[in-house]
Symmetry: C2
Subunit: 355 residues, 2 copies
């Protein structure tokens, strides 16, 4: 058993992988691979319907919101959202909590006025900004709910009195959320949802079509709403595996159970970080991510030997991002508590040897 | 054995599906699924490198052309190409050979002057226009090399003295092509290349960056060239399966062998259409597609019983597109001659019974 702590593409549940492999060989009773059936076949239409239903069920998505499966990743949603929601003379507020927020800000600037309301850049993005003014007249406020690189996360959805647009790529389905606080949520699949190649969008339908701009057909959310994400051939297999992952989530208690499990994993690993003399946390304790646990060695010389010892114990993907250094353990939904315990065991063994 | 004649997503070679299923369970010696490994891992970087190398090798792509693996399908390339290549005051010529050309024309109009140089709409797109004037000053001429719906195909790459931009989604890798005649080629994967979810682009590098336009980062080909199609997380699995399919193509004689095989299949099926009293071709004989063989019943009452008899023989996906009617047998690279022979057998048995 290898424990994969990479920030993404992330691990998927074993039962999902079993079914996903079987479908590549032969899907249902078709004697054809899922990779080679028509996306208009009743069998694949059922997959799409189920994928949407699973999102709605897991997150209690109200009827006035559309659920879309698109491509291009969150990186495409950085411009896609502003292109569809923000008029040339309108203003949107953005909160800068790191690399991904910054990219969203850069792309949105092509389409309207962007005001950066707050930033934690002053402390290398080690906290979530909380105290800042909200100017009037904002079309929306954009935030990145979880920051994979620095390891910070909004513990609660903030209430600014302005609709939110949120990059939820790395913590969607990890806990319940109140969809009604958002005009739009987007998420690349490859953390808690499925394999790379599909992007989930949840959008309040009546916020669309309110701006004057010529938008290419494929870049207009309304195209995809009208055609149930099948205006053109969708990324069929990534959607199928995402559907299976959501089925697994539902069978395992849904987002409430995931939240409980993720809190247990976080308590275990952060507890060890705080206790262990060889390691220390790298972000403000109140803003610690439940998805990407970043931590630093108390002595720089510990980095290589700790990674080596972890690898020996088959814990891989623990090197921190170069902008933070140290270590990062990504503990998405599919990481079980045994994996986190294994990592904690390595940390304790390391301390015994090196302290 | 089921023979899948659907227009796409199309069948893939059996050995490819075997390897593709295995990699979902466990990839190489990693004890991890290919769906859950980092796209920055050496193992996946090797997949990307090999995918590009295979394209270059199969099509003899010169060094001054980039090979990209993007998302969004050909439908996204309809605007993407014009957005990157055509200045606001420049003019491009488009040839209208059916539904897909039409969509390309519609999207390109958002970015510059579009002149439709010729159209076969007058005869329900049953031929490829050949005799028309080429005005001077065109930035490029866009064509759809194979028309999946009507069943027409350019037999040779036309020489207009103007660089070509080509939607080659449904016949790429089916025969050799001279890349140097094109500024840009794009192709959704799901016919001859791999599963849905990845789009191949081959672009001459020095035609980029020549226009004044603010382009979102993800919609600028240069972004993806600079990062080897890994600016953001790529659609890893569709790329992997495409790489395997190209490996299979190379092992089976490359595009020269495919051309030979595709010609044999075409001779077999079109020969039967011309001979059989129950069927007739639906397009101009010179323009018949080697990928999507469209044909009509000589009596409308034949449609349902023929489809039923074919299904009995496990030949599926033969219903014609509603805009043409009758039948369509898609005979992409992975369809073997036995499958086509099976269909011909059914046609002959049908004629015996009904004529």
């Amino acid at each position: 058993m290898t424990y994969n702590f990479f920030a993404g593409p992330a691990i998927l549940p074993k039962p999902v992988l079993e079914k996903a492999a079987q479908a590549v060989k032969s899907f249902e009773d078709l004697d054809l691979s899922i990779l080679e059936i028509s996306h208009r076949s009743p069998q694949f239409v059922a997959v799409m319907d189920k994928a949407e239903a699973n999102v709605r069920s897991l997150l209690n998505v109200p009827e006035d919101y559309a659920v879309l499966f698109l491509t291009g990743g969150a990186s495409s949603q950085f411009y896609f959202t502003a292109m569809n929601l923000l008029g040339e003379n309108e203003t949107a507020g953005y909160i800068d909590t790191g690399t991904w927020s910054n990219k969203a800000i850069k792309e949105a600037k092509l389409f309207g006025n962007i005001k950066v309301l707050a930033s934690s850049k002053d402390k290398n993005y080690s906290y979530i900004p909380k105290d800042f003014d909200i100017p009037s007249g904002l079309k929306y406020i954009h935030l990145t709910s979880n920051n994979t690189i620095s390891g910070t996360q909004y513990q609660e959805v903030p209430d600014y009195g302005v609709p939110l647009v949120c990059d939820m790529s790395s913590d969607i389905f990890s806990k319940p959320i109140d969809i009604k606080k958002f005009d739009l949520i987007y998420a690349g699949a490859q953390k808690n949802l499925g394999p790379a190649g599909v992007t989930l969008v949840i959008v309040k339908k009546d916020v669309l079509g309110k701006i004057e701009r010529d938008i290419p057909t494929m870049l207009d959310y309304r195209t995809h709403i009208a055609k149930g994400s099948m205006f053109n051939t969708p990324p069929a297999y990534p959607i199928y595996v995402s559907m299976l992952t959501m089925e697994w989530l539902l069978e395992n208690g849904g987002v409430n159970a995931m939240q409980k499990r993720n809190e247990e994993k976080a308590a275990l690993i952060y507890g060890e970080i705080d206790r262990n003399p060889c390691f220390k946390g790298s972000v403000h304790a109140d803003d610690r991510s439940r998805m990407n646990v970043t931590f630093l060695p108390t002595n720089e010389a510990f980095v290589e030997p700790f990674l080596a010892m972890a690898k020996e114990a088959r814990c891989v993907g623990l090197a921190g991002h170069r902008s933070v250094g140290g270590f990062r353990a990504s503990t998405y939904n599919s990481m079980n508590i045994e994996g986190v315990q294994k990592l904690v065991d390595v940390m304790q063994a390391f301390a015994k040897k090196h302290n």
